[in-house]
């Protein structure tokens, strides 16, 4: 119970920071006042990429021992990206616990630790949108298309971006 209280305190602190010190291009906050363990997030598509202009929505799910273990980030909009699983879950090193590196190519400093934060996660995901990591394909078809048919990939990405703002 003490751990849960610590988690809630930490989440409230992070939320206050996010609201008081606006960071360009990201928003995150609890979906409902009653459940602080699930947040909705918005990530603006990075400029000068086909994602530009889109606002991509995702949910962040925290476990009871956050910030010891990382949250899970899952997109809730149509999106195509080599490092996003078909179910929307994001595969990025900052969301992997330090002890657990199935592929053995990530540095410990890139991975999750309690000094990371929601803001850093969202900024990392934003730069991941701009620069997909070819080495860890979560969506094989998207990886292939990104490599072999960049034009079609960018066209699909732009369609997704337009859709997010209802155009």
């Amino acid at each position: 119970m003490a751990a849960k209280a610590r988690t809630l305190r930490r989440l409230l602190g992070e939320y206050r920071e996010l609201i008081n010190n606006e960071t360009e291009g990201i928003y995150a906050g609890p979906i409902s006042e009653d459940d602080w363990m699930v947040w909705e997030c918005l990530i603006a598509g990075p400029p000068d990429t086909p994602f530009e202009g889109g606002i991509f929505s995702a949910t962040l799910t925290f476990s009871d021992d956050y910030p010891l273990s990382p949250p899970v980030l899952k997109f809730t909009c149509d999106i195509i990206h080599p490092n996003i699983y078909p179910d929307g879950t994001v595969c990025i090193s900052i969301l992997h616990p330090p002890g657990d590196d199935p592929n053995m190519y990530e540095h410990a400093s890139e991975r999750w630790s309690p000094i990371q934060s929601v803001e850093k996660v969202l900024l990392s995901v934003m730069s991941m949108l701009a620069e997909p990591n070819d080495e860890s394909g979560a969506n094989i078809d998207a990886s292939k298309m990104f490599r072999d048919d960049r034009q079609r990939y960018e066209k699909l990405v732009m369609e997704c971006a337009r859709k997010t703002v209802g155009l």
Binding site: Y27, T59, D141
Partner: protein, 218 residues
């Protein structure tokens, strides 16, 4: 000769001594660990079962699933989300074996039902709890040939947050300066959330206008 055999006997007895200490100790440890584990995860199954109408597991069930078990499964199957693992453990009474077999058999775990708020935000689906296939809509989409993750519901944020009415109002950017300055000083949960929501809507509307101009002048 006798000395050597004495030595031999001595060393063998000492080795059997050390193993005779280790083995029972190990068994005892395993037993204690098993009992503690059973004690920790044992909770009435009726509280674990979630009612379909309610959607969310009850809190006691949440507390019963150990973080270690979730972490162990997550490290074995990174593709399964923590929420899905937690939900599976809650339903099967915390059994790692059952969860492991299920993931191996089906390739993934079904995601837990959405919270009431999120479900309300999404389009009504005829059968939100179809666990039979264990497939999400995203997987179906990829099977049908498109690499785009289709996640269904209102992916369009204007509809999701009911912003159509605000699209026509011209003012944008730092609106209501007096109110905002006043609100900035408050840090309690309610006013934080109020400001958060305002910011979310402003961000979406601003992006929508930007996209409209981008499409007009490609």
């Amino acid at each position: 000769m006798s000395l050597a055999s004495d030595d031999l006997a001595g060393s063998s007895s000492s080795s059997s001594l050390s193993s005779s200490i280790n083995l029972p100790q190990f068994i005892l440890c395993a037993l204690v660990a098993a009992l503690v584990y059973r004690y920790v995860i044992s909770s009435p199954p009726s509280s674990i079962v979630t009612s379909p109408s309610h959607g969310r597991p009850t809190r006691p069930a949440n507390a019963a699933v150990s973080a270690d078990a979730i972490r162990a499964l997550q490290s074995m199957f990174p593709q399964a989300s923590i929420a899905a693992i937690r939900w599976e453990l809650e339903r099967n009474g915390g059994s790692l074996e059952i969860a492991t077999e299920k993931i191996l058999a089906e390739g993934s775990l079904p995601e837990p039902p959405l919270s009431p708020t999120r479900r309300a935000a999404q389009a009504p689906s005829p059968n939100p709890r179809s666990n039979s296939g264990g497939t999400t809509e995203g997987l179906v989409a990829s099977a049908s040939g498109s690499p785009v993750s289709k996640l269904g519901g209102h992916t369009d944020l204007i509809s999701r947050y009911n912003l159509h009415s605000k699209l026509t109002s011209i003012q944008l950017g730092p609106s209501q300066p007096a109110d905002t300055v006043f609100a900035n000083k408050k840090n309690d949960k309610a006013s934080l959330m109020l400001r958060g929501r305002e910011r979310r809507d402003a961000m979406i509307l601003q992006a929508r206008r930007k996209m409209e101009t981008m499409l007009r002048h490609p």
